[in-house]
Amino acid sequence: MNGGQVSNDIYLDLQRQLYLEARLLSAEQYDDWLTLLCDDIQYEMEVPQRRFREDKSQSRAPVQTPIFNDDMASILMRINRFKTGFVWSENPINAIRHIVSNIEVFHTDIPEQYLAYSVIEVHRSRLDSERKRLTAGRRDLWNKTETGYKLLKRTATLDDSVVLDSNINYFF
């Protein structure tokens, strides 16, 4: 899948793209964010499992449980929920910061489709002195189109077998 290093130009294009995306998400500019997604987006995060290294068997977990297993329809459902104005837990805003680092970009087998690795930390300031932080790795596929780079697939790996926030009212 990893088809080698991309040119500096493409590498920097995607650095900027991922930082832009983070800023849009932190600002809850969801309509702008949607313009960065392919219509057939796959947006995925699975529940991490704490299992022995030698435990290769899937027999006890044939199915993976998703935290996110979204397509455009379900992403829109999440965004439309925010737009109802009925999501009391996000009013006032819980100041949120999407912190992106460790960006790598590689060619894939498909021309103008790029594999991008990154690490994301989401920091939230909740009521009074409560703070929350979740850390995840991301593996993206980005397509280059006439209207810019679009996210085709994101597989995020959360580093938490127990999630330490009472909601994930945001995207990674």
């Binding site: 995060m45 529940v47 499992q49 704490r50 299992r51 022995f52 435990d55 068997s57 027999s59 006890r60 977990a61 044939p62 199915v63 993976q64 449980t65 998703p66 935290i67 996110f68 297993n69 979204d70 329809a73 379900s74 459902m77 999440r78 439309n80 929920r81 925010f82 109802t84 104005g85 009925f86 999501v87 009391w88 837990s89 077998s161 127990v162 999630v163 330490l164 926030d165 009472s166 909601n167 994930i168 009212n169």
Partner: protein, 449 residues
């Protein structure tokens, strides 16, 4: 302590004193009188398929290892070594031939026996009586139609008696289809800064919050009517639903339409097909009433103190207390084994999307429950009361179903009974002091003759 306990709860007026959500001594007594005494859910049969399969879980704050035995029975042990007390198993689930302690290598067989001890001869001079150092087993373990429970209390009633009439309702999910149920995927685990009772009361009887707290989620997910509950709590139809309590602290919320379980599926079609196709079978097994009116309906089942399951929405959840103001919540998708894979996958996705860590519904509840916990702490606040005093005039027995029944999903009867049971357990010195409410059942049984 009993005396001041009585003043914490008033069953008749539906009053609770807030310090039950924050007081550390009350919490310690909960660990002793409730979590070290009641039957607690451990695992679903399907999680322990083969001998050696294990699950690491909790009973109260005590860490427990649940293990499928060679003879296919199941045993549960404190997950700690009897030598120096190390944690024995650090994986959440898996399969093992033995449990070997990381500290000195003591090895325990699946049945908890201390099977081998390094340097037994050279160091222990063969004087260690290994039979005395097996893993510490729970006092009783038993299972009901796929659900494995255990208790730390030898004198606890049998699981059958503990569940009592609640079994009649559990069967609507556990025994509806010939092959029964299974959990799919793995547990979604979330830590919440909330007192465990506030989460339990919510699911046990609080249909009232649905239309308001979840107004946003309902707006984008609802595909059909659920007993008239509407966005903004502007309307409800209590005629076609019931709240049931008086079942040894267990409670039920149930719509009676045989369909609304899939109300929050944007595209419920394939689930509805499944219901139609299989309803005859279910009627055969559960009879007309449960088969027609309840199977497929939105139902909230609460097994006291900390297990809750929602057929329809198809989630299955247990709460592990971690202090007066903290718990861990584990949620699974549970399905009928016979369901087609496509439906199972759809259900798994929907459970995650509605009640998982990023669930559209669950993400509405956390802040409310956390705030209620926080507002029970200040010196003045902790003296204040909270109320579940809706429809105090309700609560009768009905021919067609056991327990004390009130009309509708929006009715706080169930919470009152949960807190009455809480008080009974907290006040009792032992199980013989704890009242049982299975007589209704016996009565009905006698009539039946």
């Amino acid at each position: 302590m009993k005396q001041n306990l009585d003043d914490l709860i008033d069953f008749k007026t539906g009053r609770q004193k807030r310090l039950i959500y924050s007081d550390p001594d009350i919490y310690q007594q909960e660990l002793k009188n409730i979590f070290a005494r009641c039957w607690l859910f451990l695992a679903h049969d399907c999680q322990l398929k083969e001998p050696g399969d294990f699950i690491r879980t909790f009973m109260g704050e005590d860490e427990v290892l649940v293990v499928r035995q060679q003879d296919n029975s199941v045993k549960a042990f404190l997950n700690t070594c009897t030598h120096r007390g190390n944690r024995l198993c650090k994986a959440d689930h898996g399969n093992s031939k033995t449990f070997v302690c990381n500290y000195h290598g003591w090895s325990f067989s699946l049945d908890g026996q201390l099977s081998s001890v390094p340097l037994e001869e050279a160091a222990y001079h063969n004087k260690l009586d290994k039979s005395k150092f097996g893993m510490t087993e729970v006092a009783q373990i038993a299972s009901y139609k796929g659900l494995i429970f255990a208790t730390f209390d030898k004198s606890a009633p049998s699981l059958e008696d503990y569940l009592g009439e609640m079994k009649w309702y559990l069967d609507i999910w556990l025994d509806a289809m010939p092959e029964g149920t299974e959990l799919i995927g793995t547990a979604m685990k979330v830590e919440l800064p909330v007192n465990w009772k506030l989460a339990v009361e919510n699911v046990s009887g609080d249909g009232y919050h649905l239309g308001w707290a979840h107004a946003g989620a309902m707006t984008v997910t609802t595909s059909m009517d659920l007993s008239g509950l509407s966005v903004g709590n502007s309307d409800v139809n209590n005629a076609e639903a019931v709240s049931v309590a008086g079942l040894n602290g267990h409670t039920v919320l149930a719509a009676l339409d045989g369909l609304s379980g899939y109300a929050f599926y944007p595209e419920p079609e394939i689930a509805v097909d499944y219901l139609q196709k299989n309803r005859p079978t279910v009627i055969d097994r559960l009879g007309d009433y449960r088969g027609e009116n309840m199977w497929g309906s939105q139902i909230n089942l609460t097994v006291f103190p900390n297990l809750q399951m929602l057929p329809g929405l198809n989630w299955f959840r247990i709460y592990h207390p971690k202090g007066p103001g903290k718990f861990e919540m584990w949620t699974w998708a549970m399905v009928d084994k016979e369901m087609p894979d496509e439906l199972k996958q759809k259900i798994l996705n929907n459970v995650s999307r509605t009640f998982g860590p990023a669930g559209l519904f669950d993400n509405d509840d956390g802040d409310n429950l956390q705030a209620a916990t926080e507002q029970s702490r200040g010196w003045v606040s902790r003296q204040m009361d909270v109320y579940t005093n809706m429809a105090l005039d309700g609560g009768h027995s009905r021919e067609e179903m056991p327990g004390v029944v009130s009309e509708g999903l929006v009715c706080e009867q169930n919470q009152r009974y949960v807190y009455r049971r809480w008080l009974e357990m907290m006040s009792a010195d032992n199980w013989s002091d704890v009242p049982s409410y299975n007589n209704l059942q016996e009565a009905r049984a006698t009539e039946a003759k």
